[in-house]
C-alpha cells in the first residue's frame, strides 16, 4: 500500500519556515564564534573573512590550556556552581513546601517579604554584602562565593507555586496512614516536584556559572577566581584590537559546560523556558 503524505496546512508551513530561519539566524553567530576560535588571531586582524578558508589551527585552545590557572578556575566554578545549585534547590523546596502546606502565624507576611526580594537587584546590595563578608573575614573563600547566591526568592516562589498546585488529597491519604510531615514531603510531594526542581536547578546553575560581579570583588586572589573573572583577566590587549581567535576560544571553553548541560537536560530547559514547570 502506497504511503500517503498528509499535506501540512499553509499556516503551519509558514510557522515551521519562520522557526527554521530564526534558528539559523541564532546559530550563525555561534558557528562563527567556533570558526574564529580555530583561526590564527593575526590572520583575522588582516582579514576577518579568513574564517571561511583554510588553514585552521588549535593554537588558541593550546594557548588556553597553558594558562596555568585555568584548571583551578574551572574547579572553583564547578564547586561554586554545583554547591549553589544543590543548596538553592534544597532550601527552596523546604521553604516552598512550608509556605504551601504549613499554616503558621505570619505566613503571608513572610511570603510577601520573600517575594519583595525579587524586586531587589544584586547591585543594590553589593556594598553591604561586601562589608558583611569582610567583617566575617570570609572573602577569598568558597563560602563567600557560595552563600550570597543561596538567598533565592525566585526559587522559593517557584516551589511554593508548584507545591500549591499539587492536590492536597494525595498527602491526606498518606496522613491517614500516620506518615510524618517530613515523610510525606520526602516520599510523596517532592518526587512530584521534580520538573520544578529541574527548572530551578537549571536557572540557578546558569546564573551561578555566568556570575561575574560578586566573584570579581570577593575573590581577589587568582587561585580563587571563577572562570568568568579568570578568563576576562587573560585578555591580552586593552583595545581587544587583536587576539580575536584566542578570545573566541575562551568563549567556547566557557560556554561548553552550558552546552553539555543543555544536551543532557534539554527537556527540562525547554519546559523551564516555556514556564511549564509551574503549570
Amino acid at each position: 500500500m502506497a504511503s500517503k503524505t498528509i499535506a501540512r496546512p499553509m499556516s503551519e508551513q509558514i510557522l515551521v519556515a519562520s522557526v527554521v530561519i530564526l534558528a539559523i539566524a541564532w546559530m550563525v553567530p555561534l558557528v562563527w564564534i567556533v570558526g574564529l576560535s580555530f583561526k590564527n588571531s593575526l590572520e583575522l586582524v588582516v582579514d576577518p573573512n579568513a574564517v571561511f578558508r583554510f588553514p585552521y589551527t588549535l593554537e588558541n585552545y593550546a594557548d588556553l590550556m597553558v594558562t596555568s590557572n585555568l584548571g583551578v578556575w574551572l574547579r572553583n566554578t564547578l564547586i561554586v556552581t554545583v554547591t549553589q545549585t544543590v543548596l538553592v534547590v534544597a532550601i527552596s523546596c523546604l521553604a516552598g513546601y512550608g509556605f504551601a502546606r504549613i499554616d503558621f502565624p505570619g505566613r503571608n507576611l513572610v511570603f510577601i517579604l520573600v517575594l519583595m526580594g525579587l524586586a531587589i537587584p544584586q547591585h543594590a546590595v553589593i556594598v553591604p554584602l561586601h562589608k558583611m563578608f569582610n567583617d566575617w573575614q570570609m572573602h577569598n573563600t568558597f563560602q563567600a562565593l557560595i552563600l550570597p547566591g543561596l538567598a533565592g526568592p525566585f526559587g522559593v516562589f517557584l516551589m511554593t507555586a508548584y507545591f500549591r498546585a499539587i492536590p492536597l488529597e494525595i498527602e491526606e491519604a498518606a496522613k491517614l496512614d500516620n506518615a510524618s510531615r517530613f515523610r510525606i514531603f520526602w516520599e510523596i510531594t517532592l518526587p512530584l516536584a521534580v520538573p520544578a526542581m529541574a527548572t530551578l536547578a537549571i536557572f540557578t546553575f546558569l546564573h551561578s556559572w555566568n556570575d561575574y560581579l560578586w566573584p570579581l570583588i570577593s575573590a581577589t586572589r587568582p587561585e580563587m577566581y571563577t572562570l568568568t573573572v579568570g578568563l576576562a583577566a587573560t585578555q591580552t590587549n586593552i583595545d581587544q584590537s587583536e587576539g580575536l581567535g584566542y578570545l573566541m576560544a575562551q568563549a567556547v571553553f566557557a560556554g561548553l559546560p552550558m552546552l553539555i548541560l543543555y544536551i543532557f537536560f534539554q527537556k527540562y530547559v525547554v519546559r523551564a523556558v516555556a514556564g511549564a514547570a509551574i503549570r
Binding site: 593575526l42 586582524v45 588582516v46 582579514d47 576577518p48 593550546a62 594557548d63 588556553l64 597553558v66 594558562t67 596555568s68 561586601h130 562589608k131 563578608f133 569582610n134 573575614q137 572573602h139 577569598n140 570579581l216 570583588i217 570577593s218 581577589t220 586572589r221 587568582p222 573573572v229 576576562a232 583577566a233 587573560t234 585578555q235 591580552t236 590587549n237 586593552i238 583595545d239 581587544q240 584590537s241 587583536e242 580575536l244
Partner: protein, 437 residues
Amino acid sequence: MKLTTFVALGALALGLAVPTMAQAQTEVRFARFFGACEADFGTNTDPGTPSNECGVITTLTNIFNAENPDVRVVPEIVEWGPYYEQLAGRIASGDVPDISVMHGDMLINFVKRDMITPLDEAFTEAGIDVEDIAPGPRENVTIDSQIYALPQDFVTWLWHTNSGTMAEAGLGEVGAPVYPTSIEEMMEHARQFKQATGLPYLALTLDSNAMSRTLYTMLMQANYNLFPESTNQIDLHSPGAKEAFEALKQMKDEGLLVLIPDWASAFTGFSNGEYGNLIGGTWQIGDMVRLSEQTGGALEGYVAHVFPAINGEPAVWSSSHSWVMLKGGAATPEKREAALRFLRFLFENNIHWARAGHLPMRTSLMSDPAFTEMPYRIGFAEIPPIAEHLPKDVPQQRIIQPFIGEELLAALQDQKSTDEAFAAAEERVNTYLSRLR
C-alpha cells in the same frame, strides 16, 4: 621495608619539603592589568622578544624571579575595566597587594583617601634615583610635595601612519611622511591624499576615550585651560574648543576622516591600507609593529608619530602607568624589602617597557640609543617636554573622559549639533564632579 611503603614515604617527605622550600621565599603580590600571556611569555626571560605591554611585564617579572631566588613576585591579574573597582574592594577587605599598577590620573583618588604610602624614603632606601625620573611623570605622582608612586612611562596620543599610502599621495617618502602644522594644512593634506588615493586621510574609532584624548590634545595645543576656575568644573564654552572640533567634523563630512566602530576593525582597515593615518595611543605601537612585520603587504611603511601640532604649539595629551604601594600591603620588613627590590628592578629595566610603545620615564634613557633607535617611531624624543596631562587634582578623570567623548562622537555622527554636544558634555561632567564627596 616494602617498596611501595618506601615510595609513599618518599613522596610524603617530598610533599612536606616542597612547601617548606617555597616558604623560604618572600612572596610579593603584584596586582596589575596588562593581561595574561603565559602561552607566549610564561617562561620567557629574553627582554628583546616581547613587543606588547603584557609580554614585557611578564618577561620582566620572570627575569626578576630568576635573578632573586629568595623572592617570588606573583602577578595578580585583573582585566582593565573593573581593575579599580576590584582594587577598592581588596583595600576594603584588607586583602591588599604589595605592589599595584595605577594610572597617573587615578592616583589622586586613592591619595585623597589616604590609601597609598608615600615613597620618598623608600626610594632612597631602595637606591632609586628620583632625579632621573622625567619632570612630567614625577610631577604627576607628586602630591603635597610627596612622591606617591614610581612612574613607569609616558603614555601619549599619536598618529599611526601608513607612510606607503602617504607617499603615494606625495606626502613624504616611505618611512618619512610629512605631517601638517595647522588645521588648514591638515585639510589640504587630507584633500590631496583623498584625490590621489581615493582613501580617507584620517581614521578615528568610535571609542569615547579616543575622541576625548583627541580633543584634549587639540585644546592643549591651543593652550586652552579646561578647568579655569576649579578642578571640579570643566569649561567647554570657549569658541576655541568648538572650532577645533568643527575641523574634524568638516573632515568627516568631506569623507577625509572615517569613523571606525571599534579598534579591531580599525586595525584591520589600517593594516589593509584603507586610510593614511589612524589616531591611537603609544600602547598600540607594539601590536602595529608585529602586524607590519608579520603580515607585510599594505602596512610595510608603518610609522608612529606624535600627534601633529595642528592647533597651535606642539602639545599632546599624556598619562602614565605607575607602581604604588598601598597602605596595608607589604606589611612585614621582608615583604617591604622584596617589594622595593622589585620596584628598583623595574626602574633599572625601564628601557624594555618602551618596546611596547610607551616612552620610558627615565631622563637618562631619552638620549640612549637603545630608545632613540627603536624603529618605526618618529619624533618620540621630542615628546617629554610637550606631554601634558589634565590637572592631577581633577578627580575621577577616567569617568568624566567618556562623558565628553560620547557627546562629541554623537555630534560627529550628526546625532546632535556641536553646540548641543558641548553643552551636554559640560553638564554631564560638572554634574558628576559636583556630586563627588
